[in-house]
Amino acid sequence: MDISVHDCVVRLQGVSQRYGKAVALDDISLEIPAGKMIGLIGPDGVGKSTLLGIVAGVRRLQGGKVQVLGGNIDDASFRNAVSSQVAYLPQGLGKNLYPTLSIFENADFFGRLFGQSREEREARISDLFASTDLSPFRERPAGKLSGGMKQKLGLCCSLIHDPELLILDEPTTGVDPLARRQFWELIARIRVRRPSMSVLVATAYMDEAEGFDWLVAMDAGKVLATGTPDELRRSTNETTLERAFIKLLPEEATRGHKEPQITPYKSSGGPPAIEAKGLTQRFGTFTAVDHVNFRIERGEIFGFLGSNGCGKTTTMKMLTGLLPPTEGTALLFGKPVKGGDVESRRRVGFMTQAFSLYTELTVRQNLVLHARLFDLPPEKASARVTELLTGFGLEQVADTLTESLPLGIRQRLSLAVAVIHEPEMLILDEPTSGVDPVARDGFWELLIRLSRENGVTIFLSTHFMNEAERCDRMSMMHGGKVLAQGPPAQLVAERKAKNLEAAFIGYLEDAAKEQAAARGEPAAAAAAPAGAEVNVPQTAHAAVKSRFSFGRVWAFARREAVELLHDRVRLGFAVAGPLLLMAVFGWGISLDVDHLPFATLDGDDSSLSRQYTDNFRGSYYFEEKSPLSGYPELNRRLRNGELRIALDIPAGFQQDLARGRQPEVSAVLDAAMPFRAETARSYVQAVHGQYQARLREAKGLPPAASPMKLETRALFNQDFKSIYAMVPGDIMLLLMLIPSMLTALSVVREKELGSIANFYAAPATRTEFLLGKQLPYVTVALIQFATLVALAVVLFQVPVKGSWLTLIVGGVLYVLASTGFGLLLSVFASTQTAAIFAAAIIAILPAVQFSGMFVPVSSLTGGAWFAAKIFPSTYFQAVSVGTFTKALRLVSLWPQVAALALIAIVYFLVSVLLLKKQEA
């Protein structure tokens, strides 16, 4: 079936989606034509991403019908089949990339996911890299790329399997204008090569949307209008899409909206508010900010224009004292910035890039907290909070939790917090990033008022051209350097450009040429190859559709392993940690009790009473302290922990003994630690028994015992040395705790960082994904197992007396179970903190207390017994002690081995069941 003949690539009928109370999509019906470049336009938070997520199959459909490429996307088997024809690039720069993997490794992973052979991957990746100019950087980690390059790489990864439908969610947000232009040129070239491919793009940049074939204008979960850009402009009688869009909005959304008007800046004289001289910041060999100079006058609005990663944020951090500069100086109000200078911070308000207020507090609580932290007197504080709530239009949400507010309102709150102490200067890092045009204009009105009416100096960074245009003066930044500086109109005039964007692109091209010339390369950007057709070997589609593929398991496993190998710190901990702990435990954990401190209160002080004490002296188990003089001393020295045993020999001991009057000796034990006290008691009884036996012998009496003799035969560990029981237990403990902790972060980390979307969009099953996740950690855990056993045998001289095979089989199954436990927690948890915390708290109780290491499992009852039975430690403890110390073989241990296998399987299956293949 040739899909391109369908006239409609996506069809939505009555689609509604809500998150709690918030409505993301409100009964949307839409038919999207095939083979075209489709734009979804509208501000943030109107449901664009939700819609794209549903079409891509990564979000669960709540209500309505969605057909993609002729099939029902709500049907899991269709979704799996169609996913090899759909590509999805989620929102957020490089969000679907793995930052520690190299460019090539990233692309290679996606190729493997789609079951491509080695030659095919090589050919496709070379082709894609050639047409995106990424070839020279194959080995660079993705995390170290600029925003534009990240998006190009993301696109390569999406295109690797020749999709019929390419879905791009805000692919150019935060990318510099040159890279943005190159990105769209690239898409255009690809469409020439593959005319049947449909491209679905969400964007907040209206100027980009002008070049698309067909548009869907959205607001508040509804479709406002559809049609070509021309049709939209004509229907609203406007000349630009941006204005057309604002006109399409319902009236209440635009009420009170007006284009912010700026009065020209008049210098009030005096020293500059901010002055930077040769400011430089290096991180290792990377220069983030390179000799930046600028002066900002009091009351001026100064803008930093540049892409993500160009050094704007770093410069601002140096100005606030968060980062000490490597070179150069920064002056605030004529004084050098110092990290610990608390007083100068009272004159500055700061707003960081990401929303950094406490989302678990309400709007009012946030304001009150900051008012107090800036030491506003209480009456003034409450007046100021009320004033800001009104002035910033926040009264209605005053008692709402911050986390449930839309971005635009949060940004207003951030600004309110930044000005709560009426600072003379504001430093704002990308304050309007992700805020819709109407809200952005409202935000600017506030800024203009602060600057012109209150004389506040404003230093802000942005990647929006129209915002930069509003600044009194601005500075264009790229690659850590300032390219040009001056009033925006002047910069445009200097380059004879038609607008600020063109001027910026001009400066960027110059910089790129200079850089290339410095490296002795031709300027690559302009002369990108036109994308020559390459003969790429095709994978049979049958391979992609197969139900279970080792190739995909391997793809996931390889990726996870490479990531682990790149994180030297984590790897080091994983391998060396258990060894170190084992050494410490084997050396330190011991249940042997000896050198018990004792003292005697000898009320008789006769030769026979001294003889009695002599029995305790010289024994390895006791250690004599200075004698006691009376009961108060006896009490005190027991209470302060100096003595564990106090012997009390009564006056008349010798006399009574001689007359056969059965004198009574008391031994007082410190039973605060019962285990130790019990042991001490048996030692005392033994010494006393020996003493009596000798006494009877001396008196010529027969032994007093009954004819019953008790013989104790200690099995498995004749001399009761705890090392033979403890070292196998240590192996059990460490193989539970460390591998589960490592694995516990595997899935939840991807959830938090967003790369889990790759799994949602890939034609992979949950089993494949989880197996791939578990495999590298099983390998690490097996290495730990091998080294721990070696340590036990070589260093601690605890030999394996039983069957090696049973120990190894049990160890492998145990490691599968402990990593499976981590996997289960990871699938269940929603944050890394929760996963770590749960791994620490939940695993340690059964592993230490219920496993049989300290207390025999046969003695457990109730909840403890149950916990012991469903946790693998109990069974491996039996296998470990059994094979090391009890000389057992599989014949006796098979039930434990079978239980381990069962638990490993159950943990894995439950993880598979709990894992979602779609976002909620």
Binding site: G339, V569, V668, A671, A672, L733
Partner: protein, 375 residues
């Protein structure tokens, strides 16, 4: 003065955040209820519920009496197995002890002929195997006495009587000890992970930078976290001590509660400082987990709570002196069980405090460096 106010306000913020995290609250509740009660009730290193089997080759009145006398709480009801089952049962770890009563046992006793009973102990069950036979001997002696003619002969009386008294825990109940030890462990795990993870989360969410550009000192942030998390833990510990330990487990807490509170406060200061210090040493949450977890395991197993500190090699005992939990374990045992007064425990308190100060100073010196490192 301003500093104190800031610390107070930031701390209130911490409390508000915590109140809105139900998962964390649940884990705290779990830590101080189930995780204290269950091990104390059953996982104790003592001869409690020891599993025992009897190979009764005599099947006489006395051997039946012996079997019936092996009773909870010391022993689980004795199973009767055949001689040929001994090896299989021991290998499977089914019983910790097997008592083999020989044929003609009663007859031999009555005639005064020496007869040998064998106790087979699983010596890998370290905590029971050593002392169990002693208990079995006492029980058997008691049962055998009426059948042994010589028992009434005055010459067979003890020459010297031994009277053993256990102070501070007269019945040597392990559950007292285990409950308190579990509380100490949970204090450590909560303090380290709560505070450390909170610092990392603030760093990852950018709120830490946000606070550092305000007129606040890092020390204020740190002490705010310490007091706020500390007060939650103190409240949970007190509830646990009264409801779970005194109430449900029936442990008579001997010592002075105010003194214990003082020590607890000092310990929390030093152990939360440790958690924050660990958080400043790493770059990401996975690394924090991998660093903090071993530290916690070492604290939990080697501080003298699980096994006696004196049993460890001297060098290790010295090393453990720089870990605050070692002193807290010793302090808690002294106060809660031995009713020690301030004059007896001040060295422990001083050491914990000094250790906490060292951690704090080191952490503060790293605070800004840490922010610079997360580029």
């Amino acid at each position: 003065m301003k500093t104190l106010k800031h610390i107070g306000q930031l701390g209130v913020k911490e409390l508000l955040s915590l109140a809105r995290d139900p998962v964390l609250l649940f884990l705290i509740a779990y830590c101080f209820s189930f995780s204290v009660y269950t091990p104390a009730k059953s996982a104790v290193m003592d001869v409690i519920n020891a599993s025992v089997a009897v190979v009764d080759e005599d099947d006489s009145e006395v051997s039946r009496n012996i079997r019936a006398a092996l009773l909870p709480p010391l022993f689980l009801p004795a199973a009767r197995i055949a001689f040929s089952d001994i090896n299989r049962a021991m290998n499977a770890g089914q019983y910790t002890f097997i008592i083999d009563i020989p044929p003609r046992f009663q007859q031999d006793l009555q005639r005064g002929v020496t007869t040998t009973v064998e106790i087979i102990a699983d010596a890998t069950a370290m905590s029971q195997a050593g002392r169990g036979p002693e208990y079995i001997r006492n029980i058997m002696d008691h049962e055998v006495r009426p059948f042994w003619a010589g028992s009434r002969d005055p010459r067979n009386q003890d020459l010297v009587k031994l009277n053993i008294r256990a102070r501070f825990n007269p019945n040597m109940q392990q559950s007292w000890f285990v409950a308190v030890n579990q509380i100490i462990n949970n204090i450590s795990v909560l303090a380290i992970f709560l505070c450390g993870a909170a610092v990392l989360r603030e760093r990852e969410h950018g709120t830490l930078e946000h606070l550092l550009v305000m007129p606040l000192r890092p020390a204020e942030l740190m002490f705010a976290k310490i007091w706020a998390n500390g007060i939650v833990v103190i409240a949970a510990v007190m509830l646990s001590l009264f409801l779970v330990v005194k109430g449900a487990l029936g442990v008579p807490v001997a010592g002075s509660i105010p003194l214990f509170l003082l020590g607890l406060t000092i310990y929390l200061f030093s152990v939360t400082a440790l958690g924050i210090m660990l958080a400043t040493l790493v770059r990401s949450m996975p690394q924090f987990g991998l660093l903090a977890f071993p530290v916690f395991i070492v604290m939990s197993l080697l501080s003298g709570g699980q096994t006696p500190l004196e049993s460890m090699p001297l060098a290790l005992q010295k090393i453990m002196q720089v870990v605050p939990s070692t002193h807290f374990v010793s302090f808690s045992q002294a106060v809660l069980f031995r009713n020690a007064d301030f004059s007896m425990v001040w060295p422990d308190l001083t050491k914990m405090f000094v250790i906490g100060c060292v951690y704090t100073v080191y952490t503060l010196s790293r605070f800004r460096k840490m922010l610079a490192a997360v580029q």
